[in-house]
Structure formats: structure tokens, C-alpha cells
């Protein structure tokens, strides 16, 4: 009897715990959204009045516009570069016989674990030696490096999942290596490519640490712009941007859930 009581009780406490933790996870976002409508520039809570002035401020300031465009451009280009480089790399790692490929594989993934600050500083030094400090080239290279692990991982997982016999079938029925890649391998890699693009874009758009070191005023990405603003002003404009960010993210996540199910994409479940 006591055991049954405890089990019932125990389940409820766990449920409560989970809810509390989820609240802990989500409240900051809520606070941001609410604060973005704060009429006064003071960062107190709850806000004393509601207004849209910070959103208007956003639209008017040139640095936010610049940051936004830069982020889009850099994000798009670096994703494309990472995809092509990653594709070649993934195939080489998976099927190649080059002796150093595991080392290269590890190095390509290293930007995931190395402190962003170090990567940023290293690239900055490289850029100053090569004379391209703050230019788009450096920024794009930086983003490609940061995004590569995600792309590579997704592609490799997809590659590993391709049935070996399918490759044999393609070969035996007359597909030259090039045709095989185009007609069989590539179509089967679509999920990996999709996941790769998604993670790459998200990572690039949010990349901060490395970017801070390598950008110049004209090439600032949005996160850097946000940061600089926070250091200079104390008003909730950033809250407005953040709210927009949150909206965009919710859309993306819902889209993902609809398209493939997040759990699958994160490999928590097997494809049904």
C-alpha cells in the first residue's frame, strides 16, 4: 500500500520537476518578449507600459540593417561552401584510401570543441599576416570552419546509411562512378544535405565568438551588432531583435517537426 502511494506520489513529483525545469528553460525567452514591448527604456520587470518603439528603433538604425544583411550573405555563402567541401570530404573519409583522412576528419570537426576565442584569434593573426583583416573573405572562411562539423556529420551519417548493395546495383547496371553519384548517391543523401543546411544556417546566423574577432565595422554580423549595442546602450531594443529571433526560430522548429520530426533529425528515434 505504501509502495503504491509512493509510486503515485513519485510520478507526480517527477512531473512537477520536469515542468519546473521546462519553465526554467523557457522563461528567459518569455521575459525577452515581454520586455520588448516595454514603453520605458529602463530594464525593469514587469514593464511599466507597452509600446512598439523599440521595434521602430530597430528598423531605423543602419547598423542593424547592415548586420542583418551581412549575416544573411555570410550565412548563405558559407553554407554553400561548407556543403561542397563537406561533400567531397565526407566521401573521401567514408570511402577513400588517403592515409591521413582520419586526422583530417578530426581536424574538420575540431572547431566544434575548440574555444571560439582561440579560433577567432588564430584567424585574426592569419588575416593580419595575409593582409585581409576584417574583409568578407576572412569572415566567410571563419563561418565555413565553424559550420563544417555539422555539415560533415550530417553527410557522413547519411552516407553510412546508404545500403552498400545499392551502390553495387548501380555499378552492375552500368552506372559509371559519376553517374552513380548523380543518380543514386546524391538523391539518397538528400536528408543529410537538408539537415546539414539547417544546422549550418542556424550555426552561422548565431555565431558570435569567432566573428567578434574577425569582423570589421563594415562586415559585422548581426550577433556582433547586438553585442556592441548592449555594451553601449541599456534600452530594450535588443529585446525586440531577440523577439524576432524567437519568432523565426519557432517557425523553423515547427517546420522541422512537421517535415521530419525533430527526434529523428537528432537521431533520438529510428526512422519508422
Amino acid at each position: 500500500m505504501i509502495a503504491r502511494l509512493f509510486r503515485h506520489w513519485g510520478r507526480n513529483t517527477i512531473a512537477l520537476l520536469v515542468i519546473l525545469i521546462l519553465l526554467f528553460l523557457s522563461i528567459p525567452s518569455l521575459v525577452i518578449v515581454v520586455s520588448s514591448f516595454n514603453a520605458s527604456p529602463v530594464l525593469d520587470f514587469p514593464p511599466r507600459g507597452l509600446a512598439l518603439r523599440w521595434y521602430l528603433n530597430l528598423a531605423e538604425r543602419p547598423d542593424f540593417r547592415l548586420g542583418f544583411i551581412n549575416t544573411l550573405v555570410v550565412g548563405g555563402i558559407s553554407t554553400l561552401i561548407a556543403l561542397s567541401a563537406g561533400m567531397g570530404g565526407a566521401i573521401a573519409i567514408f570511402r577513400g584510401s588517403l592515409p591521413g583522412r582520419q586526422v583530417i576528419h578530426a581536424m574538420a570537426l575540431s572547431t566544434l570543441v575548440l574555444p571560439g576565442v582561440l579560433i577567432g584569434v588564430g584567424l585574426l593573426m592569419l588575416a593580419s599576416k595575409a593582409g585581409g583583416v576584417g574583409g568578407f573573405t576572412v569572415v566567410i572562411i571563419a563561418h565555413v570552419l565553424m559550420v563544417l562539423p555539422f555539415v560533415l556529420r550530417s553527410l557522413l551519417v547519411s552516407l553510412e546509411n546508404i545500403d552498400e548493395n545499392l551502390e553495387k546495383a548501380a555499378m552492375i547496371f552500368g552506372a559509371s562512378p559519376l553517374k552513380k553519384f548523380y543518380y543514386v548517391t546524391l538523391p539518397m543523401l538528400k536528408p543529410g544535405i537538408g539537415a546539414g543546411i539547417l544546422f549550418a544556417l542556424v550555426t552561422s546566423v548565431n555565431e558570435f565568438a569567432v566573428s567578434l574577432f574577425v569582423v570589421a565595422r563594415s562586415t559585422q554580423t548581426l550577433p556582433v551588432v547586438l553585442f556592441n549595442y548592449t555594451m553601449a546602450y541599456v534600452d530594450p531594443t535588443i529585446a525586440a531583435v531577440s523577439t524576432l529571433y524567437i519568432l523565426a526560430t519557432i517557425l523553423v522548429v515547427l517546420l522541422m517537426q512537421r517535415l521530419g520530426g525533430m527526434a529523428q533529425i537528432l537521431r533520438l528515434e529510428e526512422r519508422g
Binding site: 520536469v18 530594464l43 520587470f45 575540431s110 570543441v113 547586438l226 537528432l266 533520438l268 528515434e269
Partner: protein, 270 residues
């Protein structure tokens, strides 16, 4: 792709090289080779930063682990797909927001007149606002919330790989749910737990935006230290030396973590 890796290596190598050069104040040129930069690190100011970083990482990792485990467990084991989806979405969402936005959110939360203080005052736990912003505690709190998604995902993956039949077997052998957890589920989930802990620890070591924004320059972490030297003082050589120092510590910790993972992995298999 090899080209890219080469660039990365070149950058890191330069870092290394710079660290051995001497600093010429007021200019970006560097002088002769010297070990002076490394000697400066021994200064308590900088060693203090190392300690600070370690303390923060420790707290972040442990608390995140404690909070993430129940979440991961319910995520994997709940029979309701609504519950699972909700947890998943709520967990992943913050992940996609990026560090700047999330750190900013905590800046709002932690202020003297921010959400947290207001909440605590209104429920009567405290009388005057506690200073959380620009304090270590605030940084830790923020980092925990930021690290939760990663930890949850990693633990959940580990949990999802556990063969449920093992648990059922234990049950048929007479073990109560608590015993089943202690003797079967928990040990088998360890690989995920360890992976999560290593990743979160390493990640908090590298954390930059959060300590910078929430610490406001008063919470001195290694990464912020480097930032100060490079973009603040322009002292590239010393910054580089610090960078190498951080790299070494980082790699050492990764190595230790892998070692622990292997040992526990072997034991779990028995």
C-alpha cells in the same frame, strides 16, 4: 576541404608562434622570441582567472546534469507523444537562439529590477534584491540554462539505447522500480551522462559571450582574459600565450574525459 583544414591549422600555428614573441606596447608589431609571456601567466591575476573558470565549469556541469537527467528520462520514456514533443521542442528551441540573445535574456532576468529579483521579492523569499548580474552566480545560472539542451540531448540519446528488456528482466527477478533504476538504468545510461558532461564542461570552458555579457568584465574567465588582451590592449603576444595555455588545458581535460569515459564504459559492459 583539405584546404580549409589547412587554413585552420595555419591559424592555430600562428597563434602558437605569436605566443613566443615579445610585445611592443603601442604597436601591432612584435619583437624577438621570448618566454616572457608565459612567465606572466603565473601571475596570480591570471591564475585566478583559471581558477574562476574551473569553478564555474564545475558548477555548471554538475547542476546541468542534475536538471537534465529527469528531463531526458521523461523525454525518452514518456508514453505520450504530446509530452515528448513538448519537451523536445521546448528544449531545442533555446538552442537555436544563439548565445547573444540568450545571454541578453539573462541580463534582463538578473538585474536588480529584473524578473528574478521581482519574483523572489514578491513571494517573500528575500527583502532586497540580490545582486546577480555581474556576478559569478549569474554567469553560472545563465550557463546552466544554455547548456541544458545539449546535456538533455546527449543523455536522452544514451537512454534511448538501453535495451528495455534488461529492465523488465530485473523486474521479473523481483526488483522494485527504484532498484531497477539504481542497478540497471543508471549504470547503462552512464555513457550518455559522461558524454554530456564532457561536452558541457568543455563547452563552458570555451564559453565567451555569456561571461562577457553577464559578467560585465567583473567575472574574469580565461576566454574573457584573452579577449581583453587581444582586442582590448592589443597585446597579441600575451593574448596568444594565454590562448595556447587555454588550448593545452582544454585538450588535457578532453583527454581526461575520454579516459574516464573509457574506464566507465568498460565497467558498464560488465
Amino acid at each position: 576541404m583539405v584546404l580549409l583544414v589547412a587554413i585552420l591549422c595555419a591559424g592555430l600555428f600562428l597563434l602558437f608562434q605569436y605566443s613566443f614573441t615579445s610585445y611592443i606596447p603601442g604597436s601591432l608589431r612584435v619583437g624577438a622570441l621570448t618566454l616572457a609571456n608565459y612567465q606572466r601567466i603565473i601571475d596570480p591575476l591570471y591564475l585566478g582567472a583559471v581558477w574562476e573558470t574551473m569553478v564555474i565549469c564545475f558548477w555548471v556541469t554538475t547542476v546541468t546534469l542534475v536538471l537534465a537527467y529527469p528531463l531526458a528520462y521523461v523525454l525518452v520514456r514518456s508514453s505520450s507523444s504530446v509530452v515528448r514533443s513538448t519537451i523536445l521542442v521546448l528544449t531545442i528551441l533555446p538552442f537555436f537562439l544563439g548565445v547573444v540573445v540568450r545571454s541578453y535574456a539573462w541580463m534582463l532576468m538578473l538585474g536588480n529590477r529584473g524578473f528574478l529579483n521581482r519574483l523572489l521579492i514578491s513571494i517573500g523569499l528575500i527583502e532586497t534584491p540580490i545582486q546577480l548580474l555581474f556576478r559569478r552566480a549569474g554567469v553560472i545560472l545563465a550557463l546552466i540554462q544554455i547548456s541544458l539542451p545539449i546535456m538533455v540531448i546527449l543523455i536522452a540519446t544514451g537512454l534511448s539505447h538501453i535495451d528495455r528488456r534488461l529492465e523488465r528482466t530485473a523486474q521479473t527477478l523481483g526488483a522494485s522500480p527504484i532498484k531497477v533504476f539504481r542497478h540497471v538504468t543508471w549504470p547503462l545510461s552512464l555513457p550518455g551522462v559522461i558524454a554530456g558532461s564532457i561536452v558541457v564542461f568543455g563547452w563552458s570552458l570555451s564559453a565567451f559571450a555569456t561571461p562577457l555579457m553577464i559578467g560585465g568584465g567583473r567575472v574574469y574567465v580565461m576566454t574573457v582574459m584573452i579577449y581583453d588582451q587581444i582586442l582590448g590592449s592589443g597585446n597579441y603576444p600575451f593574448g596568444a600565450a594565454l590562448g595556447v595555455f587555454v588550448l593545452v588545458i582544454d585538450l588535457a581535460l578532453l583527454g581526461v574525459g575520454q579516459g574516464i569515459a573509457k574506464v566507465i564504459g568498460r565497467r558498464v559492459r560488465q
